[in-house]
Symmetry: C2
Subunit: 286 residues, 2 copies
């Protein structure tokens, strides 16, 4: 990953703010010309990726809770599920319908809360069918989900990323005009280490970190009220201080969240109230 | 993914048992000629991949517990960490040393229990440094970890896979002479759905499923003893019945496992006693 230098940027001027770089291995931060959504039916005001590096810390759940919270505030919201080989978003919202195709592109499927959703799982004959694809095909599908889907007018599009720092996250960070990323972590040191890789990846690519959410922080015993910390006590405040980013919420490991998700009713979970959505909104609207 | 047909198999005979197929997109099940370990210093008797499809269900922890349990029985054991962008194995065993290189290849790093370990994280200047690589490079590294590492004489090599059904799992399932895969799941329906993708991927590629481990099944309140099911009650027995594979263990979400892992002493965790290693051994030695 190296910077391209002036010569490969369209405008020929360094740091003019309008230059674009088409070298997909370049980290110069200049907007690639393909970052714009060239589908003229689409007007998406803000794009926010939800990222972690680590698997299973609740990226999809946090994406769904954020989207639901923003929708409750009256915004037009969409979710692009960029986890192509392990997509969770349709199940969380109980979606079964296939996206319809028109001459102009694919129509997202609407949840009961009117969140517009596009995910590869909506195309599969059964939800547990694997897609055994290598990176270039996965990247191609993510680009199609951005350019060839009729998102229409959206205030906020949330992008649910898969774990790792490979093809899918790299394509999203390079190809979509992100306002920034929300990082999801869990209290385990092991998760912490891998999450730091994701933060450093975003930093290297000049993508702003909007804030951090700690998920699965504790379990509360329903009988005696004791707080149990199955992954140890979190260090998310220290992480926020170190990277100078705000804490966007601490979520417990709460059986009802998992149950709402398994029933396809994640929008009904009250856990979205634990996210500091007003703070995130303030950062995004700046 | 299609079958290659007779013509691309080296022997020219269908189902002769010795044919090899070099088409990496083919699912004919005939052993590719590169599946053998051509490094003449290596004699690895059994290779077992630990897979899930879903992230964060404890693949690395189960890999480490299985390796430790087999080591305690006196076997010579190694771990190939195929999670290139989110490697957890070195941290679980508290390893910091870099692998040494000789004229014949790379030497794995030995844990205190004498488990031979190779992981990309052992090569990085700091453990939280991201590797922002696309699929072909990731696949190349995994192949190098198999062929260019001096594993020596091993009874069992465990391969820790990353989440998803993309490049890394595909390369391991295609390029390594696996005895089979151990599947790790958690009780959540959402995990269940994604895990089924991994099982179906292995089935499509004619790789035997050796058994299933359910992790994070419950949390036990240390004060009142109540069993809490933060991800709902598991359905792993049903999954085992459906796919006709044995249950290899049910592990609780136990703070001490996470703590041992965070301290780099996963080998000291007693949780490996909850795994049915004798059953797995019996299956492998058949």
């Amino acid at each position: 990953m190296t910077e391209c230098g002036n010569t490969t940027c369209g405008c020929g001027e360094e740091k003019c703010g309008q230059g674009s770089c088409n070298d997909e291995n370049c980290t110069c931060g200049k907007e690639s010309s393909d970052k714009k959504n060239n589908n003229e039916l689409n007007h998406v005001k803000h794009v926010v990726a939800v990222m972690s590096g680590k698997g299973g810390v609740g990226k999809s759940t946090v994406t769904a809770l954020l989207a639901s919270a923003f929708r409750k505030k009256g915004f037009k919201v969409g979710i692009l599920d960029a986890d192509i080989t392990g997509p969770s978003i349709p199940k969380l919202f109980g979606l079964k319908d296939s996206p319809k195709s028109t001459g102009c592109g694919l129509l997202p499927v609407k949840s009961t809360e009117s969140i517009e959703i596009m995910s590869l799982n909506l195309f599969l004959p059964s939800e547990d069918e694997p897609v055994i694809w290598r990176g270039p095909i996965i990247s191609g599908v993510i680009k199609q989900f951005w350019e060839e889907v009729i998102w229409g007018d959206l205030d906020y599009l949330f992008v649910d990323l898969p774990p790792g720092t490979g093809d899918a996250p790299l394509t999203v960070l390079q190809s979509l005009p992100l306002d920034g990323v929300v990082i999801v972590t869990s209290p385990q040191d092991l998760a912490n280490m891998v999450v730091r890789k994701a933060i450093k990846m975003a930093e290297k690519m000049d993508i702003p970190i909007l804030g951090i959410v700690e998920n699965m922080s504790y379990v509360q015993c329903p009988d005696c009220g004791k707080k149990i910390f199955p992954f140890g006590q979190g260090k998310v405040e220290l992480m926020c201080q170190e990277f100078k980013v705000p804490l966007l919420g601490i979520l417990p490991l709460e059986p009802s969240v998992s149950a709402f998700g398994d029933q396809g009713k994640i929008g009904e979970s009250a856990s979205s109230d634990l996210l500091r959505t007003d703070l995130l909104l303030e950062i995004l609207e700046k």
